[in-house]
């Protein structure tokens, strides 16, 4: 028994009775792509969100609609989310800093004062 739905993805998956095993054929389901947005030439591409698309080309099209239409945009990247290698959430403790070592944090350098002083001297 097929479950007629307005969502084409549901129909593609041929979801039947609850409890039936659903087998997803290759190409049947869409992938998630992470989107990176470049505001001007030479600037970094910044992560802005993700889109759901059947292939990289259409991911770019969807990304343009979703993320390229409001603020200035000169280029977009899309990367399949599953191609991103990341640490496990549980490994967060690797990044924990020893309290006595805050001098290692780049954010610890107080330079604004010096910069302002330099500017004034000009």
């Amino acid at each position: 028994m097929s479950n007629e739905s307005l969502d084409p993805r549901v129909n593609r998956l041929k979801l039947g009775e609850a409890g039936e095993i659903v087998k997803v054929e290759e190409g049947e389901n869409w992938n998630i792509y992470e989107v990176f947005h470049q505001e001007k030439r030479g600037a970094h591409h910044e992560h802005v969100g993700c889109v759901h698309a059947p292939d990289p080309q259409l991911a770019l099209v969807f990304a343009k609609e979703q993320f390229g239409r409001r603020k200035k945009c000169v280029n977009l990247w899309v990367v399949k989310s599953s191609d991103i290698l990341a640490f496990d959430v549980e490994d967060e403790d690797m990044f924990a800093n020893n309290l006595e070592k805050t001098y290692r944090d780049a954010s610890g350098f107080k330079v604004m004062e010096k910069i302002n002083k330099f500017k004034q001297s000009k």
Binding site: P8, G27, H52, P54, Q57, L60, V61, K64, E65
Partner: protein
């Protein structure tokens, strides 16, 4: 002067195609298969209507044409010169996409050719719409590739819809018996026959890549008539709906 009459005829043909195609595509708003595609199709529909408006303005400013809004929404059906392709109802998404693919490549080729036009407003318009048309054809190509490779049923439906749409699409290139010569001699544009050939050369490799077979061109009878004001029964209801609000009060200012 027949040069002006010829130019006017060409602009109306191009603009009416854009307006009616834009309106048809806008009918998908809210009904697209997925949200981003819905937005994409709607946004391209707006672009088309923008192209129509730019052309009506050229008529208005350079060739003593009427106010663009009045000309678009307050004109009897027989005065429209759009091709039959753009008048057809949307039916299923496959048809709309195939029409989008065939129409937008024809459109891109036409506007590209205008970069060398002897008519200055055409040269400027050609530059202005270049980026938009690049995106429209990229979008169309991406879907044609995707759907022709999405399994047997999908492939067959794409091939079928291509077979059924080719004659309509060939109707875009209906030359005016009266004006074609003068437009080509005056180097306004390269002429419908040349554009038709360029269009076939442009879509062929994309269709090959999608494993779709281009129907034999010799067996096709292009759907002509639209350029002479003879239309399908689908245009009149569209015009009525499109102009419904405007025609409540044609003098209102928006």
């Amino acid at each position: 002067m027949s040069y002006n009459a010829a130019l006017t005829d060409l602009i109306i043909k191009m603009a009416d195609d854009e307006l009616i195609q834009g309106h048809r595509n806008s009918e998908w708003t809210g009904l697209g298969p997925v949200m981003e595609e819905d937005i994409a199709f709607s946004s391209m529909a707006q672009d088309k209507i923008g192209h129509a408006w730019a052309l009506y303005r050229i008529l208005h400013e350079n060739l003593e044409g009427k106010d663009p809004d009045k000309f678009a929404f307050h004109r009897p059906e027989k005065d429209f010169k759009c091709s039959h392709l753009v008048e057809m109802p949307n039916e299923e998404y496959g048809f709309s996409l195939m029409r989008h693919f065939l129409f937008d490549h024809a459109e891109a080729i036409r506007y590209e050719s205008l970069v060398d036009s002897s008519f200055e407003p055409f040269r400027m318009l050609s530059k202005k719409v270049k980026g938009e048309l690049k995106y429209h054809t990229l979008h169309a190509n991406a879907w044609i590739m995707q759907l022709s490779q999405a399994g047997e049923e999908s492939y067959q439906r794409m091939q079928e819809v291509l077979n059924n749409t080719m004659a309509l699409a060939a109707g875009i290139f209906e030359a005016s018996p009266e004006y074609e010569n003068i437009l080509v001699t005056e180097k306004v544009y390269p002429g419908e026959a040349a554009l038709y050939q360029r269009w076939l050369d442009r879509i062929y490799p994309i269709l090959v890549k999608a494993s779709l077979n281009l129907p034999d061109i010799k067996t096709i009878t292009p759907a002509y008539g639209g350029r002479q004001g003879i239309h399908t029964p689908y245009l009149q209801p569209l015009l009525k709906e499109m102009g419904e609000v405007f025609n409540l009060d044609t003098e209102a200012s928006w």
